[in-house]
């Protein structure tokens, strides 16, 4: 058993930022991540922030990793956390245990499944997988690619695939279903895209959002939107076609394209379009495998079930903190700001950080959120407000803790 002041789960932007804040203050810090390469979702990220500045996630990840190492953070990469027990003890693969009085859970996000027929064929993958393969590992996931699902991540990845020389045949809607919800509805997607206009992190998203700026025109737009799609920086945005099946025996050979009306209903006409790769985007959700003991709520504006937490990022379990996408789906910069808060909160508990520094860090989370160039969910501010109210309603820390364990 190895003892630390704080054990952090997840070496993405939130976990590494928490580690840096706690370790630079003088704390003994362990970080565990199942990936052998630290960085989490940062590894694949690549988007233009301004005319001559790119957010290159892998460089940000390398910088955070170096700073954490310089501060004496012990990285347990390629290790899995399978359980967490009060005190706190983290059970790792192979029977090892890490003990620490404080824990920061920064387990991030995963992508929702989109189980359309044929989705298990080799060549079908999530947009997140395609992003990391293309930008980090530098392997094009296919030559002719169909993207399914319209959201900031899928639009960004479609553009990245195009930049990497792939022929992106289109961004299509998922079939209308209980599972895809509004995602299969052309009118909903037009409204959603228009909401991204001011938030768009790159020229591609701005162009997509600009299609439908005028809310009055949106309803008509859904009806009049051409079936052939509208090209956005060379990638056809096919809001009037859905992918209803993926075909192939040993690997993806084609997608079944179905024309849909303004309400997303199939018009009966389908055709096969040859592709060798399909990238599915069902949206991100916060990963809660380790937060089971914390009081939580389902807040759709934040992407699903999230643990309730204080401004200092502490959950209803004393000395268990959270940071990053485990608290709701937002960009890497917000995750980093939250991680810094959690790390400083732990340092303050240890008597290693001034309360004023922690207060400044708390204040900066909202500043970063306001100026963030990428917003995955349109009403994240409302989601944070709801989460804050629920936290306040949970009463004192001890009461909430007792409820959580009851």
């Amino acid at each position: 058993m190895t003892a630390f002041d704080v054990a952090i789960v997840g070496a993405g932007p939130a976990g590494l930022s928490a580690a840096i804040a706690a370790a630079e203050a003088g704390g003994r810090v362990a970080v565990v991540d199942e990936n052998r390469v630290p960085g989490g979702r940062l590894l694949g990220q690549l988007h233009q922030e301004s005319k001559d500045s790119w957010w290159i996630g892998q460089k940000v990840a390398a910088g955070l990793g170096e700073r954490a190492a310089a501060a004496g953070v012990e990285l347990f990469c390629g290790r899995e956390v399978w359980g967490m027990h009060p005190g706190w003890f983290l059970a790792l693969d192979g029977g090892d245990t890490i003990s620490a009085p404080h824990v920061v859970l920064a387990s991030g996000a995963a992508e929702r499944a989109m189980p359309i027929p044929g989705w298990t064929l080799p060549g079908v993958m999530t947009v997140g997988a395609a992003q990391t393969l293309t930008n980090f590992y530098r392997v094009r996931p296919g030559q002719r690619i169909a993207v399914v699902g319209v959201d900031p991540l899928s639009l960004t990845v479609a553009h990245e695939l195009k930049m990497a020389g792939a022929d992106v045949v289109g961004i299509f809607l998922p079939p209308l279903s209980k599972l895809s919800g509004q995602g299969g509805h052309p009118g909903h997607n037009l409204g959603y895209l228009s909401g991204l206009a001011s938030l768009a992190p790159n020229a591609f998203l701005r162009a997509a959002a600009g299609l439908v700026r005028n809310p009055v025109a949106r309803k008509a737009a859904a009806r009049l939107y051409p079936e052939s799609g509208v090209p956005v920086l060379g990638v056809p945005l096919k809001l009037k076609q859905s992918i209803t099946a993926i075909e192939g025996d040993e690997r993806v050979r084609a997608v079944e394209v179905t024309d849909i009306d303004a309400q997303g209903r199939p018009k009966g006409r389908t055709r096969l379009l040859e592709v060798d790769c399909v990238c599915l985007s069902g949206g991100l959700y916060p990963v809660q495998e380790l937060t089971g003991g914390c009081a939580a709520a389902r807040i759709d504006e934040l992407g699903g079930q999230v643990p309730l937490h204080s401004e200092e990022m502490e959950t209803t379990l004393k000395n268990v903190f959270v940071a990053g996408n485990v608290t709701g789906i937002e960009g890497a910069k917000v995750a980093m700001a939250q991680g810094t808060v959690a790390g400083l909160a732990v340092a303050a508990r240890l008597g290693l950080a001034e309360p004023a520094r922690l207060r400044d860090a708390i204040a900066s989370v909202d500043d970063v959120r306001r100026t963030s160039p990428i917003t995955f969910l349109p009403n994240v501010g409302e989601g944070r407000r709801k989460a804050g109210e629920l936290w306040a309603a949970a009463g004192t820390h001890q009461q909430a803790e007792a409820q959580a364990w009851a």
């Binding site: 052998r36 992508e111 997988a129 392997v139 990497a164």
Partner: protein, 103 residues
């Protein structure tokens, strides 16, 4: 070839060439590759077959969450190809090791 040796923003690709074995065949890779990325660069998409129906499976989530890409690496069964760095001389077999071959 699906390898991106040049990229308009990220520039040229670095990394030392190495080689490893998959299903008895030697393939090239670049230091820093995952097992999954190295195989994909060589056009290999099928990493295992499903136990019941024998259907092909490959990379799905890319972050170690779905366990679809599990392979056997140097005798170790059920290793996730997407988050396992490839190493020079590594011996990879598709899917988990058969039960009788496990230690």
């Amino acid at each position: 070839m699906q390898r991106l040796t040049e990229h308009p923003v990220l520039g040229p690709l670095g990394g030392q060439p190495i080689s490893f074995e998959f299903d008895g065949i030697v393939y090239p890779a670049i230091e820093g590759d995952s097992v999954a990325s190295a195989l994909l660069a060589c056009g290999i998409r099928t990493l295992r077959r499903s136990k019941q129906a024998g259907e092909p499976r490959g990379i799905y989530c890319g972050i170690g969450h779905c366990y679809e890409c599990r392979v056997t690496v140097d005798g170790k069964s059920s290793v996730r190809a997407c988050i396992t760095p490839v190493a020079d001389g590594m011996v990879v077999k598709p899917g988990p090791a058969p039960a009788e071959a496990r230690p």
